[in-house]
């Protein structure tokens, strides 16, 4: 975005600050002038067309023309959305409802008219040609009008008067000769100073006005609700599947072994005097069963919540994970505290899945894991897993990475994969969270 870039530059070069400001103001003035012209002519023309077209709907002609006109209105509004974000950093999300491509003209027309976003477009046109025009013209005038004052002071006043009568007004200054022309020049300078300082701000006001009409105000919330509904469903599905897995593992594994052990012990009780040798054999078997049951329980626990994660937190858990990999793995951790337990677990299993993927598919010789937390924007955990393998990893297509993405989604985390063919692969994960 231009504005941000300019700001950054001005901060960097303190000497050029005044120059930069003047330049930004001049740019804002020119843009504002353009906006004022476009807002007035474009909005009036489109508004007239829209009204006429909608009035003609009962006659049938409007049914054909309205979608065309509304498409033009939408194009005009979208262009202004673009300018808003480019020139002033004001985001106005478009929220048009999709119209099926094979809809007949009748359906197309009424669907469009029923779309709240389209109705807001139509409401915006008269606002834009009045208030929008004024808010755009004001910064333009503040930048351009002073130059008339300077021109008058420089001698232009002679065109209007010979010095004996008031031949022209500049603002509230009557021009009647060189002294008053100089006064006009001074007023112009004052106006220019005001303009230089306020033009970018006033331009922003114009776009904020545009946003207040065009954006529903509920769009972001609605979007958020949609995302939350989806991630909640994912989370519920995942945890239900996880519970089923645990139940099955316990039932088929440790539980069955304990039952077998109980039976063995019963047999031993019966055999201990009749056949001590056989009993001793069964004791050994029971002991093996108990050891195996313990191993199984241990694996199960590691799958639910790795002990080292509970004991040491994410950093050391990832280090321990790296120690078990068959590929040399460097782990760099910068976490000045512990994370919340659910986030820790999600991040750990995400890293684990990504590393497993890398070991299985990348053909890499080295892996680097970087885990760090930055406090800005309310805290952000960033994890990057890089390998020097063959690349070509992608989210989706049934890869483990889409599972990771869903897992992180529950915490509003995001996953980005950069893996050009030929490598290297870099998987980046970000989860907003605070340290405790």
């Amino acid at each position: 975005m231009d504005i941000n870039g300019e700001r950054g530059e001005r901060r960097d070069h303190g000497d050029g600050e005044a120059g930069g400001r003047a330049l930004a103001a001049a740019l804002a003035g020119v843009r504002a002038l353009l906006l004022a012209v476009v807002a007035l002519t474009g909005s009036i023309v489109l508004f007239l067309f829209s009204v006429v077209s909608i009035v003609l709907v009962p006659l049938g002609i409007g049914i054909v023309t309205t979608p065309w006109v509304l498409a033009a209105v939408r194009g005009f509004a979208n262009w202004r959305r673009l300018l808003a974000v480019r020139w002033s950093g004001v985001r106005i999300p478009p929220e048009y409802r999709p119209v099926p491509p094979d809809a007949n003209p009748w359906e197309r027309c009424f669907r469009l008219l029923g779309d709240p976003a389209v109705r807001r477009d139509l409401l915006w046109l008269p606002v834009d040609m009045t208030a929008g025009f004024v808010t755009a013209l004001l910064p333009a005038l503040l930048i351009l009008y002073p130059f008339e004052g300077f021109a008058l002071a420089a001698g232009l006043w002679r065109v209007f008067t010979d010095g004996t009568y008031v031949g022209w007004w500049y603002g509230f200054v009557p021009i009647g000769g060189q002294p008053s022309a100089l006064a006009a020049g001074a007023l112009g300078a004052a106006l220019l100073v005001v303009g230089v300082y306020t033009a970018p701000f006033l331009l922003r006001v114009h776009f904020l006005l545009t946003r207040s009409v065009l954006a529903s105000g509920q769009g972001e919330l609605a979007q958020r609700v949609r995302v939350l509904t989806e991630t909640r469903r994912d989370a519920v599905d995942t945890s239900a599947a996880e519970l089923r897995r645990i139940e099955r593992d316990l039932h088929d594994g440790a539980q069955a072994r304990l039952v077998a052990m109980g039976m063995d012990l019963g047999t031993i009780e019966a055999l201990i005097e009749k056949d001590p040798a056989k009993a001793r054999q069964l004791v050994a078997q029971a002991r093996r069963s108990s050891a195996e049951a313990l191993t199984e329980l241990r694996d199960l626990v590691r799958g639910i919540h790795p002990p080292v994660l509970a004991e040491r937190g994410l950093g050391d858990a990832v280090r321990a994970l790296a120690l078990r990999l068959p590929i040399a793995t460097e782990v760099d951790v910068d976490l000045p505290g512990r994370l919340g337990e659910p986030v820790e677990a999600a991040a750990y299993f995400a890293v684990s899945e990504v590393l497993t993927n890398a070991v299985k598919h990348s053909g890499a010789e080295r892996i680097w894991v970087d885990v760090h937390h930055t406090p800005e924007h309310g805290g952000m955990l960033r994890i990057a897993v890089t390998d020097d393998g063959g690349g070509g990893a992608a989210i989706g297509s049934g890869s483990g990475l889409s599972g990771v993405e869903r897992r992180l989604g529950t915490f509003d985390g995001v996953l980005a994969v950069s893996s050009p063919a030929g490598g290297p692969t870099m998987v980046t994960m970000e989860i907003p969270c605070e340290l405790s």
């Binding site: 004991e311 321990a320 120690l323």
Partner: protein
Amino acid sequence: MRVVLAEDLFLLRDGLVRMLEAFDFEIAAAVESGPELTRALADLEPDIAVVDVRLPPSHTDEGLQCALAARRARPGLPVLVLSQHVEQLYARELLADGNGGVGYLLKDRVFDAEQFIDAVRRVAAGGTAMDPQVIQQLLARRQGDGRPLGRLTPRELEVLELMAQGRSNAAIAGQLVVTERAIAKHTSNIFQKLGLDVSDDDNRRVLAVLAYLDQGR
């Protein structure tokens, strides 16, 4: 031999006390939390500490941290750490000071009373007792990328595994049912193939093997 025991689960603590007493150890103290352990190790000066990794009040790795702190205060204090799970990370922390007299075993190893007591005695004497699971993890890793290990015969690999756990040649010979001379031959072959210094000192031997297995990290 005087033992300080730290274990928060009553059943396990009780069982360990009975087992150690059955093998003629003297229980100087059996405690259930980190702070108590620290105090007991400082006051009672035992010959060995047998410690659970996870202890109250934090229920994280408090036992391990107390043991490491005690070893910093009294270098070479024999410590045998027991855990429900074993992590190479913890094994490396225990071995880091190179003083020996450390052990790190799964709690399951207690099932085999004689082997467990053997490990306690070895650690108390300044030796090492590493859990077979730690060694197997290390071996699996090294076999993935390491050619030198590939040059070992299956028998030599077996000997290497037992050696890395901290067993002496005599003990390895006993377990594999061969003569001690045969084991001595295997070990010198292993050291030669891996490019390690031959040494008679049990503990130095283990550290060399572990350092080899752990290298490239």
